[in-house]
């Protein structure tokens, strides 16, 4: 074999190894979720007659679908508010350079804040308003970190839309707002949609705020998933199924957003 050929084999070998490290846990969870209960604690059994008991239990007899719905509602509301408010502001930062570069960075500075700082006062606020265990607290908390990110991403997207397009539209009689709404916004739609998936994922995955601010019927999916091992004793098969339910939507979304993610992270600043 030539030296170059050997090289290629080595590179592919290493990448393949990494691939196995990443994929094996998924495979193992899938396998566990279809094992009959007496085999779940037997790691040496790989071949067996699969059963769907765990899946039936989780999808039709537990409250998991309700918690899934909660996650969807919270993520949806947060995304809609963020995009609505964030796109207006991002347009202004991009077109009129409102506040200059410091303002752009100030938006991101909030990301450094440890979540405990915010959660204490949001918790107390909701406690005194008697709004604990409703959607209110969790939506406020998620907006606190998603809204700045949304704005940051959108600044980058708007920066890439040529100004001439809008100027032309305004010459043709559009107002500034119409130019934003009918010209600027459609031009960032593709990027914003992909980034929207990403913000949705952030909200969907959050556990810390959800643990403290939701509860009972408003629990979100991660809080429910965490409960499988801690409170009900060991129901590993159902836990595996629930984990897969929590994973599949985000991993699917990830395939759509990856390309835009890099661009968005570079966002509001040009190096």
């Amino acid at each position: 074999m030539t030296r170059k050929g050997l090289h290629a084999v080595m590179i592919h070998g290493l990448l393949f190894l990494a691939l196995i490290v990443v994929v094996f846990p998924y495979f193992w969870m899938l396998l566990t979720s279809i094992k009959p209960y007496w085999l779940i604690t037997a790691p040496n059994v790989w071949i067996f007659r699969p059963v769907l008991d765990n899946w039936r239990e989780v999808l039709f007899e537990s409250k998991l679908p309700l918690y899934l719905l909660n996650s969807l509602i919270v993520g949806g509301i947060v995304s809609v508010i963020s995009v609505g408010v964030g796109s207006l502001a991002a347009y202004s930062f991009s077109r009129f350079n409102t506040g200059g570069t410091p303002a752009r960075f100030a938006i991101l500075a909030a990301q450094m804040l440890p979540p405990v700082v915010l959660v204490i006062s949001i918790f107390l606020m909701m406690y005194h308003l008697r709004l604990l265990k409703t959607y209110a607290g969790i939506i406020v908390a998620h907006l606190s970190f998603i809204l700045p990110l949304v704005t940051w991403f959108l600044i980058g997207f708007f920066d890439e839309v040529p100004r001439e397009l809008e100027e032309q539209a305004m010459v043709d009689g559009y107002t500034r707002f119409q130019a934003f709404y009918k010209v600027g916004l459609p031009n960032v739609r593709a990027g914003a949609a992909a980034a929207g998936c990403f913000w949705f994922v952030l909200s969907w995955n959050d556990f810390f705020y959800a643990l403290i601010l939701t509860g009972g019927p408003t629990k979100t999916l991660p809080v429910a998933v965490a409960g499988f091992w801690t409170f009900r004793g060991i129901e590993m098969g159902q836990m595996a199924a629930a984990i897969i339910v929590a994973i599949v939507p985000v991993v699917t979304a990830s395939f759509f957003v990856q390309k835009h993610l890099v661009k968005g992270l570079g966002g509001g600043v040009k190096y």
Partner: protein
């Protein structure tokens, strides 16, 4: 057009920040609300003598530095591999990136299950080659098992940022190095690495900020144990605030944490500036 954003941020960010700062100056216990009163800096004064706070801070620093270092090394290696013309490159990249999109609670539970000393697949495989370990039972090992989980989940993020950095590098220096007959190692050390330094610093800062927030793995696996050997700072503050309901003290601790993080970021930005000027 910025006004809606400002109002919104005022409500969800600035107001909560201010109000928890105020709480940090109060004796504020949810279990004794009528006894709430202003105590000045008393909550802050307790922190230097709070051994458990510094234990948690130490654990967190060990965790952050080992995890971020390993993620950087592995992420950089993977980024370099994927930067070449590899067959099925997009496939490899897409699949290798998936862990960073999964909720950390799920990742924690997956590994709690797979690393379980009685029925986990990994100890089982290790047993067949004669190694017997309980990943979460003894003191230093438990923390490093958590590090391992973090590395599994977040190396992809490092890889993503570094790969983007590699792809935006200018080509000329590499061509010049090739013309001069430089070896691959020399090119990496003298061309790739210096050019990548700003990207590296940014990637490490972002990852570090996030690693400081480690909470979910502990919540679903060790609960801070054995002893307090895996208790992270976020987990400790969570306990003080939401298990013992001592809001004032928790608020003071979270502000101290914010200051420490700010300081670290400032130091790293100094590094970045030096990297830019050379």
């Amino acid at each position: 057009m910025v006004i809606p954003l400002l109002l919104m941020l005022l409500a969800v960010l600035v107001y909560p920040m201010g109000s928890s700062l105020w709480v940090s100056f109060e004796n504020y216990r949810l279990t004794a609300l009528h006894a709430r009163h202003f105590v000045g800096l008393a909550n802050y004064a307790k922190i230097p003598r709070d051994a458990r706070f510094w234990n948690a801070m130490g654990n967190t620093l060990v965790f952050v530095s080992t995890a971020v270092f390993l993620e950087f090394v592995l992420g950089f290696a993977l980024a370099l591999l994927l930067h070449r013309r590899v067959r099925m490159r997009n496939f490899f990249r897409s699949v290798l990136l998936t862990p960073m999109f999964i909720t950390p609670v799920a990742v924690g539970l997956i590994f709690r299950f797979m690393l379980n000393s009685e029925f986990g697949i990994i100890p089982y495989i290790l047993k067949t080659i004669g190694i017997e370990v309980d990943f979460f039972a003894t003191s230093p090992l438990a923390l490093f098992s958590i590090v391992f989980i973090d590395v599994w989940q977040w190396t992809p993020f490092m890889m993503l940022l570094l790969l983007a950095g590699l792809e935006s590098l200018p080509r000329e220096p590499f061509e010049a190095a090739r013309v001069d007959g430089a070896s691959a190692w020399f090119t990496f050390r003298r061309v790739t690495f210096p050019l990548m330094r700003p990207v590296i610093v940014v990637a490490v800062i972002i990852r570090m900020l996030d690693a400081f927030k480690v909470f979910e793995y502990l919540y679903v696996i060790t609960r801070g144990g054995p002893g307090n050997s895996t208790e992270s700072i976020m987990y400790y503050i969570y306990r003080v605030g939401f298990r013992f309901f001592r809001m004032g003290e928790a608020a003071a601790m979270s502000y101290v944490l914010a200051l420490i993080i700010l300081l670290l970021v400032f130091l790293e930005f100094q590094l970045l500036r030096r990297a830019r000027s050379t």
